[in-house]
């Protein structure tokens, strides 16, 4: 069994074993799930050093027959792009599990079972090099997330879970149709039916076909990102989900959409993608500004963070729309950055919610006085999200802006507006929650961050600073695949 298969199998094995642990032993359940996810991180981390930055194509590839009659295989492997997202997933999994230690008191076993299943699905998606396998994981992820939101969520959890599920399924149905069509078209061209990505990349599809397929894929991925105007499932799902759900939803699940673009839509249908670039660009800018403006009107702390994701993911898709080296590299890097910053923000909102059981911004104010350490971490998270230089967000945004600028100067000019607005809603949030006098007596006795909470935020803080101060290694990993993709796109 190869490295990637082990990495992928670990949460699944953990899931199966977990089912055997009696639900009454909540402590054992927690320990086991955390250990498994942490073990996954330990298993994934060395990939960073073992990965050969100079080599083209995919690495650590493993192949096994799956459904030979259909030409579908179990085929996994990584390049620089998926490496970053796999590592992000491997990190956020244990963070989310650790963050839920006290927050989840009911149906503990089911909760962690869902978390492990989710981890399996997320890793599987980023590892797959076979379209059918990709799709299976794309769908598989929905199930545990649906339950995470629907069972352990907030007040409107059922509405949110249903909306999340139906929205995404509606998208993936179209995606599936597109995939099947590609399978037929590609099969005819290549002379044999296959779902293998690298094989399908060899097919020379006529522009007309590419167009149909691109837009079919687009529906699936755009809903997942989500791009405006398909974004309204996001605020509900993010807000109602338990902290771990929000972290993984924002940190990883959204990236499945952008990853889908990078891994499938752009390389498979390059001509159609180039034709669609203006649409993508305009939608991205709309998302950036639209999301940011809506944030200014939010009264709910968590909902504000949720909407900020719309704006930030707009930057990621803007980089994709640029379709050139820096746009693409910036986009992937920004996906990681968003995973870090927004997870931090969601963790912190969650910790406050655990203490106060309210998310209304108006209920807070002056928290810096009672929770100075929390206020410090929150400040770093806010500035990382606002794209302050020397923190991670800036590098990604700047690279994306540069890529967009080369293609269309108006795009860059419009997107820069999002940076101004981003600082506005984030600092305003900070002022209303952390600063000022302690108006609400209920906040007076709030305890500061605990050691466990520190353990969840510290790795993210460290990464935020590390990427901001020394981003070179990240570009080094991305250089090969991004240049290859940009070349394919003719940019």
């Amino acid at each position: 069994m190869g490295w990637l298969t082990a990495l992928l199998a670990l949460p699944l094995v953990g899931f199966v074993v977990l089912l055997a642990i009696p639900g009454r032993a909540a402590g054992a359940v927690r320990l086991w799930a955390n250990a498994v996810l942490l073990g996954g991180l330990a298993l994934a981390a060395p990939l960073w050093t073992a990965f050969d930055r100079g080599a083209g194509g995919y690495q650590f590839v493993e192949r096994a027959a799956w459904i030979p009659s259909l030409g579908a295989q179990y085929l996994v492997g990584i390049d620089g792009i998926s490496l970053l997202l796999v590592l992000l997933t491997a990190l956020l999994g244990p963070v989310a599990a650790l963050a839920s230690w006290n927050a989840i008191a009911e149906r503990v076993k089911e909760f962690y079972a869902m978390l492990l299943l989710l981890q399996f699905g997320m890793l599987g998606l980023f590892l797959s090099l076979d379209l059918l396998l990709f799709f299976v994981f794309f769908e598989l992820v929905l199930v545990p997330m649906y339950f995470l939101i629907g069972i352990w969520g907030g007040e409107r959890r059922l509405y949110a879970a249903m909306k999340f599920f139906l929205y995404t399924v509606a998208g993936s149905v179209v995606l599936l149709v597109g995939m099947v069509a590609l399978y037929w078209q590609g099969g005819q061209q290549l002379g044999r039916a296959t779902f293998e990505l690298t094989e399908l990349l060899r097919a020379q599809l006529p522009l007309e076909t590419q167009r149909w397929l691109f837009w079919a894929f687009f529906v699936g991925f755009a809903i997942k990102v989500p791009m405006a105007p398909f974004h309204t499932w996001l605020p509900d799902a993010h807000t109602e989900a338990p902290t771990a759900g929000s972290v993984l939803l924002a940190g990883v699940l959204l990236k499945m959409g952008t990853y889908g673009f990078v891994r499938l839509s752009l390389p498979l249908f390059p001509e159609a993608a180039r034709e669609a670039a203006p649409v993508l660009g305009v939608l991205s800018i709309a998302a950036i500004l639209y999301g940011a403006l809506i944030c200014l009107a939010q009264q709910d702390w968590k909902r504000l963070v949720a909407y900020s994701s719309v704006s930030h993911m707009g930057f990621c898709t803007l980089g994709l729309a640029a379709m050139n080296s820096n746009g693409l590299a910036g986009s992937v890097l920004q996906q990681v950055n968003h995973g870090i910053s927004t997870s931090l923000l969601f963790l912190l909102v969650g910790y406050v919610y655990e203490r106060r059981h309210t998310r209304q911004i108006g209920d807070f104010g002056g928290l810096a006085m009672v929770m100075p350490r929390f206020a410090f971490v929150f400040a770093v998270a806010v500035f990382s999200s606002a794209g302050l230089p020397l923190l991670n967000g800036f590098i990604g945004e700047f690279t994306i802006l540069q890529g967009a600028f080369v293609v269309n100067r108006a795009w860059a000019a419009a997107a820069v507006g999002g940076i101004v607005l981003g600082a506005a809603y984030l600092l305003w949030l900070y002022q209303r929650t952390m600063l000022g006098d302690l108006r609400n007596e209920a906040n007076r006795e709030l305890p500061d961050l605990t050691a466990r909470e520190w353990a969840t935020v510290l790795p993210l803080l460290g990464l935020a600073v590390a990427i901001g101060v020394y981003p070179q290694p990240w570009f080094a990993v991305l250089e090969r695949p991004v240049l290859e993709l940009a070349g394919r796109l003719g940019r």
């Binding site: 139906l166 809506i294 006085m369 700047f398 600092l427 000022g436 006098d437 570009f475 250089e479």
Partner: protein, 666 residues
């Protein structure tokens, strides 16, 4: 000496170390409120942040101020050594290593920016100014902030500011400069909002950051233009050459400078920034940070020389800002606000100089202004400190005898700013006016008017604060030596710096235009006239001038000409409550309306199909079943499933067949 050049990178490291130490360990010098017994022991005269609820430990708290000051002093000495040793460009590592892209001329270039420092005459001036004046203000702060809580936070942020300011002025490329640029913005945000319990303070902090962000947006776009035009962002690698898009680059960079240096229309944040502790106002919002915009343009001098039309915009904005802010300064009651608007006005003069191409003169004024404005702010701080936080000049007066040290240094600073012949401001202002005269008489008139107004409002300030009778009711005492000594040190610069105009220009590789006696005389006369005018109105000590009144014009000027109101309306109301709320409603109503509608439709359709399933489909099925059942009615009796009846049938059939067979064969 070259040791200092080899270790150029250490200069910003010292204050960074201070900031890090404060962040990690500073708080441990305080007791948590829970541990406190009895009421807080120490008095506090400034509205404190949260830390005033904490009681300082007797431990190492005293060390915080001296330690952080020491780091800045080290920086100063180190940079002095380096500047004396020569020039150097030092690249530490590749900071941003992006991918290749096509520049405007089609060649592929790499998106890269080094973490590298450049020590040349321009940056040398700024480095020495930042660390030198920074050190003095650190020392002053030890006494000034002694009674405030959160000392570690104060000094940590102050050190952080010095670090970022040094990155700003030492950077060898535009992107790293932007790091410092944003970093000082962060430090400014943290320190304006130092007393974060006060909403006015946190509002001001946020306003400063956001208005600067508007400028930063311009800076970023300008940067992207530069990158595409020249293929590099490194100062020494850019080969300035005309390009049709160059005005966009310099124009957008100018927008950044306008934000940072509080020019029209992005100036209202600076007067509000006075919510921060006074030494912070002195260091950041007078002497150093706000001059970063001027520094940026001086740094990009070769590019601005190629785009005189952008220079024209800078000159126009500068002149308008200089006059308007001077008028606003005239009407303020708050001593710090007078100085703040005065800073805006003086920055306007610098922009005027930049606009007409007198880069060295602008930088020269940056330096002299840093001395006397820091001196004035620290003097004002000394007054405020002595009056337990009183900032309204209407409740001051007669402090001449009660605070002799503060009085003397502040009047010297005021005279230097007013342009009293022989003092620093006179020479630097004269250098600017000389250059402006050569460019445009109209702009010259604006400059001269500014000088007149400056002399007048400084005269007003001094007379209201130090002459006449004391109008407040407090026991006033002179501030401690630790506060007055820095004042005297700064005084050296305020008095003497002006005499070095020619060597200064030479050091920068520029040549100072010969002073014209006429312009010198005009500016001298104007200064004396302004002061004299102030004496006529305020010589009695009490405020009864037009500027004191509540007339419409005076009130309008005092409120910053309503620019704030405009932003309030357009940005806060328009965007947050208008646009954002409207879009949120759109999301809920229209998009989600559609989604929920689809869900509703789905459920309705489900109900219909349930009905049709029950009555139509299942009906059809049942009908079929019924028909079959009906049709099979006779047959069914044959298939009863009972063995006996089968037996009967078999026997009967066999009997019938046997009978038939027998009948046939018979």
């Amino acid at each position: 000496m070259s040791m200092f050049l080899d270790t150029l990178w250490l200069i910003p490291v010292f204050p960074l170390l201070g900031a890090a130490l404060m962040m990690l360990l500073g708080r441990h010098q305080y007791l948590d409120p829970q541990e406190q017994s009895g009421p807080a022991a120490h008095g506090h005269h400034h509205d404190g942040g949260h830390d005033q609820d904490l009681r300082p430990r007797q431990g190492l708290r005293w060390l915080i101020g001296p330690l952080c000051s020491g780091f800045v002093l080290l920086s100063f000495l180190w940079s002095l050594g380096a500047v004396l040793a020569g020039r150097r460009e030092q690249v530490l590592f590749t900071w941003v290593a992006g991918l290749p892209f096509p520049a405007f001329d089609g060649r592929m270039v790499q998106l890269t920016a080094d973490w590298g420092y450049l020590l040349d005459p321009v940056s040398a001036v700024m480095i020495l100014m930042v660390t030198g004046i920074g050190f003095l203000i650190h020392v002053y702060s030890i006494a000034y902030m002694a009674h405030d809580g959160g000392l570690y936070r104060y000094f940590g942020c102050l050190n952080l500011f010095v670090f970022f300011m040094l990155v700003l002025v030492m950077a060898n490329n535009y992107l790293l400069l932007f790091v410092g640029w944003e970093g000082v913005g962060l430090a400014s945000y943290l320190l304006i909002g130092f007393y974060f319990k006060r909403k006015t303070a946190t509002d001001a902090a946020m306003k400063a950051f956001l208005m600067n962000r508007v400028g930063d947006a311009g800076y970023l776009l300008g940067l992207l233009f530069l990158l595409s035009i020249f293929g590099t962002l490194r100062f020494t690698a850019i080969e300035a050459a005309a390009h049709p898009l160059l005005p966009w680059a310099t124009g957008l960079l100018l927008l950044g400078a306008v934000g940072k240096s509080a020019q029209i229309p992005l100036f209202p944040w600076l007067p509000d920034a006075m919510e921060g502790p006074t030494p912070v106002s002195a260091l950041m919002h007078a002497a150093t940070m706000v001059t970063a915009g001027v520094y940026l343009v001086v740094r990009a001098e070769p590019l601005y020389r190629l785009t005189p039309e952008v220079g024209g915009v800078a000159a126009g904005l500068g002149a308008a800002t200089a006059v308007a802010a001077a008028l606003m300064a005239l009407t303020q009651h708050d001593i710090k606000k007078v100085l703040a608007y005065s800073t805006v006005s003086q920055l306007g003069l610098m922009f005027l100089a930049l606009g007409v191409g007198a880069y060295w003169a602008a930088l020269f004024h940056v330096v002299t202004h840093a001395f006397f404005k820091a001196q004035l702010f620290l003097g004002a701080g000394s007054v405020i400190h002595a009056l337990d936080g009183e900032q309204d000049m209407r409740r001051m007066g007669g402090l001449r005898r009660r605070m002799p040290q503060t009085f003397r240094t502040m009047v010297m600073g005021a005279l230097a700013l007013a342009g009293w012949p022989g003092l620093a401001g006179f020479f630097s202002k004269d250098s600017i006016l000389t250059a402006v005269w050569a460019a445009s008489p109209a702009l010259f008139a604006a400059g001269l008017l500014t000088a007149l107004l400056t002399a007048f409002y400084m005269g007003r300030l001094c007379l209201l604060v130090f002459w006449g009778e004391y109008r407040g009711g407090r026991h006033v005492h002179e501030s401690s030596k630790r506060m007055t000594v820095p004042l005297w040190v700064l005084n050296l610069g305020s008095v003497g710096a002006g005499w070095f105009a020619a060597p200064f220009a030479g050091w920068l590789g520029a040549s100072a235009e010969p002073h014209s006696l006429g312009i010198m005389a005009a500016s001298g006369v104007v200064a004396v006239a302004g002061l004299g005018g102030a004496y006529r109105v305020y010589g009695g000590g009490a405020g009864h001038g037009w500027a004191e009144g509540e007339g419409g014009l005076a009130r309008w000027l005092r409120a910053g000409c309503g620019v704030d109101g405009f932003y309030q309306l357009a940005v806060v109301r328009g965007m947050a409550r208008g646009g954002g709320a409207w879009l949120a409603a759109w999301d809920r109503g229209v998009i989600d309306g559609g989604v929920d509608g689809a869900g509703w439709l789905g459920r309705r359709l489900g109900a219909i199909s349930k009905w049709s399933d029950t009555w139509m489909v299942d009906g059809a099925v049942r009908l079929t079943a019924f028909s079959v059942k009906a049709a099979s009615f006779p047959v069914r009796y044959l298939q009863s499933g009972m063995t006996q009846s089968y037996g009967v049938v078999i026997v009967l059939s066999l009997a019938a067949m046997a009978g038939w067979y027998l009948w046939r064969s018979a």
